[in-house]
Symmetry: C2
Subunit: 138 residues, 2 copies
Amino acid sequence: MKNLFVVAAALFNEKDQLLLAQRPAGKNLAGFWEFPGGKIEPDESPEDAIIRELSEELNITLSKTDLIPTTFISHTYEQFQLVMPLFVCKKWSGTIKCMENQQIDWVDLYDSRLFDSHPPAPADIRLINFLKKIYKIL
Amino acid sequence: MKNLFVVAAALFNEKDQLLLAQRPAGKNLAGFWEFPGGKIEPDESPEDAIIRELSEELNITLSKTDLIPTTFISHTYEQFQLVMPLFVCKKWSGTIKCMENQQIDWVDLYDSRLFDSHPPAPADIRLINFLKKIYKIL
């Protein structure tokens, strides 16, 4: 099965809230929440890809030095094997604005009802659980 | 620059010692220590790749369900961008035996002299430091 290399970011604001984005209607897994990000284009590093994606999606500018390589998942979907490294990022410039047709929300990583209020895309569940474990010691 | 997708494993034995492998003479970065692993071939998942690599290199059999996706690095070498997910693995079957021309050693992750006794390949330094932080809560 073909690997699909996608990169994602866990943005945390100054209140330690995490940004999740909701997949828009019409897309695969519409309505589920996920980390913002997107496909790593050929000859583009994961860092370059997440910087480009978050500029396009959220109108913000990330700096390479603020990207903390944190964890990854490898998840088997029907059509492809998703391989997704996740950067944690606590600093950016610009004001977040949704440039694409999606909702975003700032959530509390430790909210016990998080998976009910913001059902995550299947691949993102493990990432959120991993962040819960390690966020405080990052 | 071209991405090179490589997968690696942090094997821990029952004494919580970590296996490092020394790059053999003649290879790039000869003498430096690294996590065992290798290139992800096209249409091979990271899990399949690390299972194949550790069978070839160390003559052991890993099971997919024992592979814990833990962290990754993205490291710029002169010729390529190395993108390397790392699985932690504490169980395998078979007895470890070096099948290729390399030394291996079991080390203490928390040994303060580890980087002197076993100088890591540049890309592996961050992985070891990250493991030090999170190994006890994995």
